[in-house]
Structure formats: structure tokens, C-alpha cells
């Protein structure tokens, strides 16, 4: 004989006002097969209780209450609710450190740490193992990224008054045109991988989402700076676009993030610092500085992820090397950096057409390229390459910077 282990008084409320919450709470406390004594005075309770319990498999003792009368009856907890959760499993734990290394495809979009009902369609993510995407730095970088979001309307002194000689302004516009093109690739690439990563690795997904949003803002501020004087945009060369195309066509997340974040955005750090230094106006300086701040985070994640992966995956470094070599071969015969961009950078650093100034601008751009090269070498060593190999790989990086 089952004993009554709980009672619940629904008071005067009906099933249109939440009575089922009280009943469900009481039934949850009972064991399957256990009984709950239910009382209540809502006039529709007798009918509603029967209908609600029947649909959920909880038998109700046949009542004698007439419609409108208070009810006093026994409900037996059915087994089906407990069946629903019988095979449920926790999707790891909520904290980053409680993640599992190979989350089930059936967890789908469930929050990390949620109790997941068995069944449902498996979601086909391609990046489903920790070593494919994770970096211990990701949660901290995401927090920094979220805190460092700036408003393009407020963070840039768009109203600042300045005068830039015509040809210098044209050089600024050419550089902005180049930056926009490259940032479009940098937006699309993380966005493409976002949908392929198992959401269990939440902080990585969040970080890539912010990264894509960063690039969206960069595109906005570079476009606004380019449009300030009302002149048309600069040129876009086949070589530049070919270089970016090889980046976008890389299907492997680790290889793509190596080419984009470690080598490409790493080189851009030098370029943006150069623009900050040689900007002919405050707006160019500020947009370069703001973008630099974000790009540094993108580079940090790329390096941290590959460092993490290289610890367990001994095939990673050779694969990274051959990715650079493949891309180098694919770009052999292309013109590399758009000449207009190179010349614009020289003129910006020169500040005038005076021959001595041009020579000094040219030297500054050579120095920029040297800085990009040595920055790449540093990051390659950090990932685990020996220094001689790091130097070789750095030299094979695209002439297009990104």
C-alpha cells in the first residue's frame, strides 16, 4: 500500500492561474508511485485536475466532487516524468574548467552544465574536440574583449579640424581601402568557423563572435575615415585579393587561425602601429590605435590556441608549416602587395615629396617589413617552432601582409 507522503493545498487558484506549479512541485517530491493528497476550492478544479493529470500520466482517484465543490483527492505520481530524465546526462559543468574534452554531438545547443534529456537529433559540428579549438586563455580574453568594446561614433574624434595636403590625403584613403579589404576577410573567417564549433566550447565561440564584431567596427571606422574628404576610394589589386582568397579557402580551423591571426593579424599589429606613428591627422591615428588594441587580442588567442594544441598534437607544427608553404606556392606568380599601398605607406612616413623625406619614408617602410618579419618569428617560436624554422616560415608569409 502506498502511503501519502505529501499534501498540497491549491487554495483558490485554478489551472489558468498556475495551480499546476504547486501540484507539479508536490508530485516531484513524491516518488514514482507515491501519492499526493490534493485539496483546493477553485470551481473548475475537478475537471482541470483530471485533464492535466491524464496528459502527464498521473492517475487521479475517481472523485465524487460536483462541479464547483471544493476537491479533496489523491494523485499518484506516474512514472513517465522520471522516465523522461532517466538517461539524462550533464553536459559537463558550467565553469570553463569543468568542460569535457569531447562533448556529445547530441548535446547540441544545450548550455554547458545543463541536464540534457536523451534523444534529439545529433548536431553535426566539425570542431568537436577540445584540442581543435580550445585555449585556456579564451575565457579571460573574452572578458577583456567584452569590456574593451568601443563605440565608433564616440571613440573617434570625427569633428576634429585638420588639414592634410591633397596627395597625403589620397595616400591615407589608399591605405584605408587596403585595410577595409583585409578586415572583410578577417570578419568572414571567424564567422565561418563560429557555426562549426561545438557550443560546449562557449568562450571560444563568444571570443570569435566578438572578433567578427571587432572587424565590423574596424570596417566602419576605416570606411568613415576614407570618406571624410569626399574623394573616391583607392585601388584593389588582383594580387591582394588572391592572397585573401587563399586565406578564406583554408578549411581547417587551426590552420586558418594560424594564417589569419598569428601571421596575418600579427603583421597587421606592426602596420597599425606604423599608421599610429605616421598618421597625418588625429582621426587616422585614433582609428589605427583602436584597431590595434583589438587585433592584439585576436593574435593572443590564435597563439594561445595553437600553443595549447601543439602540446598534445605532435603533427600540428608540420601541418602549420606546410599550410604556409602551400599558400606561398599558390601565390607564386602573383604580384604580392598592391604597389599603390606600398607607395602610400612611403608617402605617409615621408610626409612630403621632398627627396630626402621620401628616402626616409622608404626606409621606414623597410623597417616596418622587418618589424613584421621579426614579430612573426617571435610568435612562431612561442608556438613551438625552433628559431631557424621560425625564420624560414616567417619569410614565406604573403607579401600582402594579411
Amino acid at each position: 500500500m502506498n502511503t501519502v507522503i505529501d499534501t498540497v493545498d491549491l487554495g483558490g487558484i485554478g489551472f489558468g492561474e498556475g495551480a499546476h506549479l504547486l501540484l507539479r512541485r508536490a508530485l516531484t517530491r513524491a516518488r514514482p508511485g507515491g501519492r499526493v493528497a490534493v485539496t483546493g476550492t477553485h470551481p473548475a478544479l475537478a475537471a482541470d485536475l483530471m485533464a492535466w493529470c491524464r496528459a502527464r500520466g498521473h492517475p487521479v482517484e475517481a472523485g465524487t466532487a460536483r462541479p464547483g465543490d471544493p476537491i479533496r483527492t489523491l494523485v499518484t505520481r506516474g512514472t513517465s516524468e522520471s522516465y523522461r530524465w532517466a538517461g539524462a546526462e550533464r553536459a559537463g559543468g558550467a565553469e570553463p574548467g569543468q568542460r569535457v574534452s569531447a562533448p556529445s554531438a547530441r548535446w547540441g545547443l544545450a548550455a554547458r552544465g545543463a541536464l540534457v534529456e536523451r534523444g534529439g537529433p545529433p548536431v553535426t559540428y566539425q570542431l568537436i574536440r577540445e584540442e581543435q579549438v580550445w585555449a585556456d586563455l579564451a575565457p579571460r580574453l573574452y572578458a577583456q574583449a567584452a569590456a574593451a568594446q568601443w563605440d565608433p561614433a564616440a571613440a573617434v574624434p570625427w569633428q576634429a579640424e585638420f588639414e592634410v595636403p591633397d596627395e597625403i590625403e589620397v595616400a591615407v584613403i589608399q591605405v584605408m581601402t587596403f585595410l577595409i579589404e583585409n578586415e572583410q576577410a578577417a570578419l568572414v573567417l571567424p564567422a565561418r568557423f563560429l557555426t562549426r564549433i561545438h557550443p560546449h566550447f562557449r568562450e571560444v565561440v563568444q571570443l570569435l563572435a566578438v572578433q567578427a564584431a571587432d572587424e565590423a567596427r574596424h570596417i566602419e571606422v576605416f570606411s568613415r575615415r576614407a570618406a571624410l574628404s569626399g574623394r573616391p576610394l583607392g585601388t584593389s589589386s588582383v594580387g591582394g585579393r588572391q592572397s585573401l582568397f587563399t586565406l578564406l579557402s583554408e578549411p581547417d580551423f587551426s590552420l586558418a587561425s594560424f594564417l589569419l591571426s598569428v601571421l596575418g593579424e600579427g603583421s597587421f599589429l606592426s602596420l597599425l602601429a606604423f599608421l599610429d606613428r605616421h598618421a597625418p591627422d588625429p582621426i587616422t591615428r585614433v582609428v589605427a590605435r583602436l584597431a590595434h588594441q583589438d587585433e592584439a587580442r585576436h593574435v593572443a588567442f590564435g597563439v594561445a590556441h595553437l600553443e595549447h594544441q601543439a602540446k598534445t598534437d605532435t603533427s600540428l607544427l608540420p601541418r602549420l608549416r606546410s599550410a604556409v608553404e602551400r599558400r606561398h606556392e599558390a601565390l607564386t606568380g602573383t604580384s604580392g602587395l598592391n604597389e599603390d599601398v606600398f607607395d602610400a605607406l612611403v608617402l605617409l612616413a615621408a610626409g612630403s615629396w621632398d627627396p630626402a623625406a621620401i628616402a626616409s619614408g622608404f626606409a621606414a617602410v623597410r623597417e616596418l617589413e622587418e618589424d613584421m618579419y621579426s614579430g612573426r618569428v617571435r610568435r612562431l617560436i612561442r608556438i613551438g617552432f625552433p628559431s631557424d624554422e621560425a625564420a624560414e616560415i616567417s619569410a614565406l608569409h604573403t607579401q600582402n601582409f594579411m
Partner: protein
């Protein structure tokens, strides 16, 4: 040999339901196909004629099936039903402010569902006739014949009956208890706006009807497989949820007395299972 199962296409989801059950059953070795019917009358005629082996039947079709089978020297039996097919009730509801009493329905208008709805028309009207001291020869019945032939599976008739009651076109409305709960919870009935006047005794609803000419081994296998479906099985659970049950139960014929009486009172079918209801064309 393939077991042929009939089901009525009262909603688009019926395709998903029986396609799902068909795959589930076939994966477990039962050769089964389903045939969709536009209404229950054609389906039950085909079952008794042996064109299909089992029919997922409304309670009204079950009663007609028994009569048709007897006439033609066949037998039909209820193999299975859902747990949610057992012990349903109907309610008669009115606006909370009305002073209507089931004791005197003389001159009153009662909104019901479709003519062929057991839960929203046949059973509650029969019940009212029985409990009302003076139902009155002029108690008016306001029918809402949405999709005749579906035996009330389409909830549209009940929704229209409820609206008529709320709008004052009718004094009361007859609904399945679960529909009353649904309308209460989805806000169609504002809190406190509707009063339950009466509730019928429990009755049973659909069953999986088998004709005696069906291949016994396949029917047995079919019954065993369905009875073995567990809500704990993540593969079976979505199908059970879709069809609105937690478990299949062995069929029983004990819960159809009220409907049988109502069918005779309304002269819906005759003793031979012929359709005799006026203005009923599925």
C-alpha cells in the same frame, strides 16, 4: 505480408506521426505500412471489408465498426489504446455571471462541436438529457460542424462553441475536459470568466481496432511492440509525445457505454452500422 494500418488525416502532423511509427516498427522487424483516410467512415468500412488490417479509430468509428462487423459476420476488437484515451470527461461550461442551471435548460441554447464529435456533442448532450429534470423539448443546440467525418478530432468545432458561449450567442458550451483546460491556459477563457456547470462520468476515447481477417502473427507482433514502447526510450519518446500518450494500454470495450447510448438517442448509426444521422456528410 505487410500489416496495413489505417489512420485519419485530421491534421498535417498525422503524416509525421505515422511515418515515425512506421520507421520505428520496421526497425524492429515488423513489415507495416499505413494508409491515410480523409475521414473515419471510409476507414471503418475498409477495415470491416478487410482492405486494411488495423485502424486507429475514433470512439464513434469503433461503435460503428462493431455494428458493421456484426452485420457482415465479422468481428472487430480493440487491440490497444493510449493511456490518455482512458477515463476522459466532458464539461458543460457557461459564463461565470450567468444563472444557468443544468436542472432547467428549457429554451436555452447549448453550443456544441461538430455533429460527429463524441466529446463535444454526442456524450455531453446525452448526459444533459439524462441529468436535466426538464431539458425541455425546445432546448436549442447550436452545432459547429467543423470538418465533419473527423469525429471531433479537429478542435475547431470546440473552439467555435466556446466562442459562441463567451459571446453570448449560446448559454453554455460542451467541451472535452482537456479542451476546457487548454482554453483556460491559453487565455481564451479569461480568469474567472467561465464556470463549469457539469462534468460527465468518465468514458474512453480512441482505440486501435483489429478485424478478425487480419494476419494474427503480424497483429500480435504489432501489439507487443507498441505495448513495449517505453517513455524512457529516447527514440520512442518523441513519437509518444507527438501522438499524445505516455504509454500504450491493452484495449478495452468498457468505456463506450455512454457514447453507444448517445448514438442511439441521436439515431446517428442504426443497429447495422448504417449512417442514419441527418445532414451528416463527411
Amino acid at each position: 505480408m505487410t500489416l496495413l494500418l489505417g489512420a485519419v488525416a485530421y491534421d498535417q502532423k498525422v503524416v509525421a506521426i505515422w511515418t515515425g511509427f512506421r520507421s520505428w516498427l520496421r526497425r524492429r522487424g515488423l513489415p507495416v505500412d499505413y494508409i491515410l483516410y480523409p475521414h473515419y467512415e471510409l476507414q471503418i468500412e475498409d477495415l470491416v471489408a478487410g482492405r486494411i488490417h488495423v485502424a486507429w479509430n475514433s470512439p464513434l468509428a469503433w461503435i460503428r465498426g462493431q455494428r458493421l462487423a456484426r452485420t457482415r459476420g465479422r468481428t472487430v476488437y480493440p487491440l490497444l489504446m493510449r493511456d490518455t484515451d482512458q477515463d476522459l470527461t466532458s464539461v458543460i461550461v457557461a459564463r461565470a455571471g450567468s444563472r444557468l442551471s443544468t436542472a432547467d435548460l428549457h429554451g436555452r441554447t447549448i453550443a456544441v462541436g461538430a455533429a460527429d464529435s463524441p466529446q463535444a456533442t454526442l456524450i455531453p448532450l446525452s448526459y444533459l438529457r439524462r441529468i436535466s429534470a426538464a431539458p425541455g423539448p425546445d432546448m436549442k443546440v447550436l452545432r459547429h460542424d467543423v470538418r465533419l467525418g473527423l469525429h471531433g478530432d479537429h478542435i475547431g468545432g470546440e473552439r467555435e462553441a466556446a466562442s459562441a458561449m463567451l459571446a453570448g450567442t449560446a448559454d453554455a458550451a460542451c467541451l472535452l475536459d482537456a479542451t476546457n483546460l487548454l482554453l483556460t491556459r491559453d487565455g481564451t477563457f479569461p480568469p474567472g470568466a467561465v464556470r463549469v456547470l457539469a462534468q460527465t462520468p468518465p468514458y474512453d476515447h480512441c482505440n486501435m481496432t483489429v478485424v478478425d481477417t487480419a494476419p494474427a502473427n503480424l497483429v500480435d507482433q504489432f501489439g507487443e511492440l507498441l505495448l513495449g514502447m517505453s517513455y524512457a526510450d529516447p527514440e520512442a519518446r518523441p513519437l509518444l509525445d507527438l501522438e499524445g500518450l505516455r504509454a500504450w494500454r491493452p484495449g478495452r470495450d468498457t468505456g463506450y457505454r455512454a457514447l453507444r447510448a448517445a448514438v442511439d438517442e441521436e439515431e446517428f448509426y442504426d443497429a447495422d452500422g448504417c449512417i442514419t444521422a441527418a445532414e451528416y456528410e463527411p
